[in-house]
Amino acid sequence: MKNRLKVLRAERDWSQADLAAHLGVSRQTANFIETGRYDPSLPLAFKIARLFKMTIEQIFEDEP
């Protein structure tokens, strides 16, 4: 699944560790989500969306 986390994180000048701390997950998890290796659960996706004040669809894009 594609996502805009890297861009959104860069806009805020956050490191992956910062993002992980905001989400309450490990840096490894933040990295795996950002690089599309791991699709977050729905609660975590909502948490990410709330963090960036966006909708899930604005952050994540399904790949057919």
């Binding site: 890297k6 997950v25 998890t29 690089t35 599309g36 290796r37």
Partner: protein, 133 residues
């Protein structure tokens, strides 16, 4: 919706019933073994230690994030299936007379080893997924 089964039969009751189902037929068939109070005390101490470690591991699991929990669950699944296959294979070869009876301690060691291999395998599978930018 909350699962009502947890209220009807607490886990410890189910576990106790399974233990009785395991031990009772064996005791009724073979009788109680020869032992001493010291050996029983040592066994109870070790049982308490194992239960404490298992509870601590459970609490650790609950505190992990969802990716860590997924990796842990995948590794447990690998350990369960791998241990089952290894021991059924050994047991059948033992029944055929090829191998001697196996010490139960190997069961624990094999399961722990397979859990660690499973955790590594699950992580490698995720690492191998195509990264999307």
């Amino acid at each position: 919706m909350e699962n009502p089964c947890g209220k009807l039969v607490p886990h410890w009751v189910g576990f106790g019933a399974l233990f009785v189902a395991l031990a009772l037929p064996n005791v009724l068939t073979n009788g109680i073994g020869t032992t001493t109070p010291v050996r029983i005390a040592i066994a109870i101490g070790l049982i308490a230690l194992v239960w404490y470690l298992a509870r601590r591991r459970d609490r650790w699991f609950q505190q992990q994030d969802e990716l860590s929990q997924r990796l842990h669950l995948e590794s447990l699944a690998s350990a369960f299936i791998g241990t089952f296959l290894l021991f059924v294979t050994y047991w059948l070869l033992q029944v055929s007379g090829l191998f001697p009876p196996l010490n139960g301690m190997y069961f624990v060691l094999i399961m722990i080893s397979l859990r660690n291999l499973g955790a590594d395998g699950a992580l490698q599978r995720l690492m191998g997924r195509k990264a999307s930018e």
